[in-house]
Subunit: 280 residues, 2 copies
């Protein structure tokens, strides 16, 4: 399956061509979702849709869920059953400079990729985490959204090479926010904590699923909280999550702080695998 | 002249098609310049080149000035003698997610547009300025650059309609930074001040030209400074500038604060017009 070439469709048509005047390119005026494709289906699809629609509303882009489903199904009819489906929704062409047009005609870009190569060990033995020097900017009007303005992540990811699967991002005040491509949870005082994302960060779909569905089903308390680096390093267990890889236990930060791969993380991994086997 | 359609060339070839995998679309991993075209030439070209190269270096994009000149001349040979030339330099296709490829192969996009319609009065009688609610995020690693992550400007520009030609942006601390598409100068205590752009904002090419060439030639002192809203509103004269329109005197802010269109602004306008007549 992984030998297939990527496939791109824009508004349901096979093409690799994005209009040079698209506001997605000009200003990053748009959003994206990176979804897992497993056995011909996208797990957590309703949450991806919900997040995309919420972000689109904040950016003044009308998002038609009927079209999302139609273009998704057009892609799925042509691509392999497993891999990654990336969805990019932009404000399309138009407007006078930064000013959006009165009537936005969005572009729906759907892409299929083969699933990237990750080490199986990361799921079972945990990952070492890099500590990024780049500090996330604070902007409540952009916080939480998976928009196309991702230079901060590009600069952060350029700080290290192959030696770490993921890096930790702090904000301008030094608070713990997220991984470069993932969200973070830490366990202490008999409950899970995850950073508040009101000022910066991306509110991930897997984070949402764990908080609203899986952890409540396990009767495990979870709280959004202000998390300092001190609070993180003195936690008992830590994991990262996203909707591509599921859950990665974290066993160290900056080769200096260490956590065990404990029973609390393992029980969440097992429950997730029971419900959605692709994340096992 | 203004009846011509826009022209787009990528890497010197006529095309409206940007690769759907371009990092410019995916992440806004790139930069742009919006330049004035007058009588077949781009005034301030060396400063546009210098800023583009400096930003490219910060974003890990190799910028070949020889190619910039070659692609510029290819465009200028085909387009009308007057208008706007937009240059977009992106990190091209490649890399593993946010991580840039080891060898970046940039895309050079050149576009010609007709000059937009502005009121002639704005040059001679000054403009009213809107005060944006959106507060610029603070990020020293992105400050100063004219990169493609411009959602803040899009959100700010969406706050008002036709009633103001431009809006004023403050940062998260309430300091005065810039116009949505321009830089700001204010006169008080016998000198000009312009905001420090170390934490946010775009360091404009016209701003650079005024600070390093034109104001020194007029023996007028100018200082980069921390400018509060109080300092701005108690200034004697205010203007905005960019390399498309030149200099616009500002006569009011939020319909509440007012400045005269005084001799200090006029003398700068006249000097600029003497040296570069297109800005008259």
């Amino acid at each position: 399956m992984n030998n297939h070439s990527p496939i791109t469709q824009i508004n349901g048509e096979d093409t690799n061509c994005v209009n040079a005047f698209d506001r997605g390119l000009y200003y990053g005026h748009g959003l994206f979702e990176t979804t897992r494709l497993s056995g011909g289906a996208i797990p957590l699809w309703p949450l991806h849709c919900k997040r995309l629609a919420a972000g689109a509303s904040r950016l003044g882009i009308p998002c038609d869920e009927r079209k999302l489903v139609e273009y998704r199904d057009t892609l799925l009819a042509q691509c392999p059953d497993n891999g990654i489906v990336k969805i990019v929704l932009t404000a399309g062409v138009g407007g006078s400079g930064y000013r959006p047009p009165e009537s936005v005609s969005p572009s729906y870009l759907f892409q299929w990729f083969p699933f990237p190569k990750y080490s199986c060990d990361w799921f079972s033995t945990g990952i070492p985490l890099f500590l990024c020097k780049h500090k996330l900017a604070i902007s409540s009007s952009l916080a939480g959204m998976k928009h196309l303005n991702r230079l901060e992540q590009v600069l952060a990811r350029a700080e290290w090479g192959d030696e770490y699967p993921e890096g930790l991002l702090l904000d301008q005040q030094g608070l713990v926010i997220e991984g470069v491509s993932s969200n973070l949870f830490c366990f202490r005082e008999n409950q899970w904590f995850t950073p508040i994302l009101a000022d910066c960060g991306v509110a991930g779909v897997m984070r949402e699923y764990l908080m609203s569905v899986l952890l409540p089903a396990l009767s495990v308390p979870v709280t959004e909280s202000r998390i300092t680096l001190e609070k993180l390093v003195s936690s008992e267990e830590v994991f990262l999550c996203n909707s591509v890889v599921g859950i990665w236990p974290v066993v160290s930060l900056a080769d200096r702080y260490h956590w065990p791969l404990g029973e609390h993380v393992k029980s969440i991994q097992h429950r997730l695998q029971d419900v959605l086997p692709c994340y096992g």
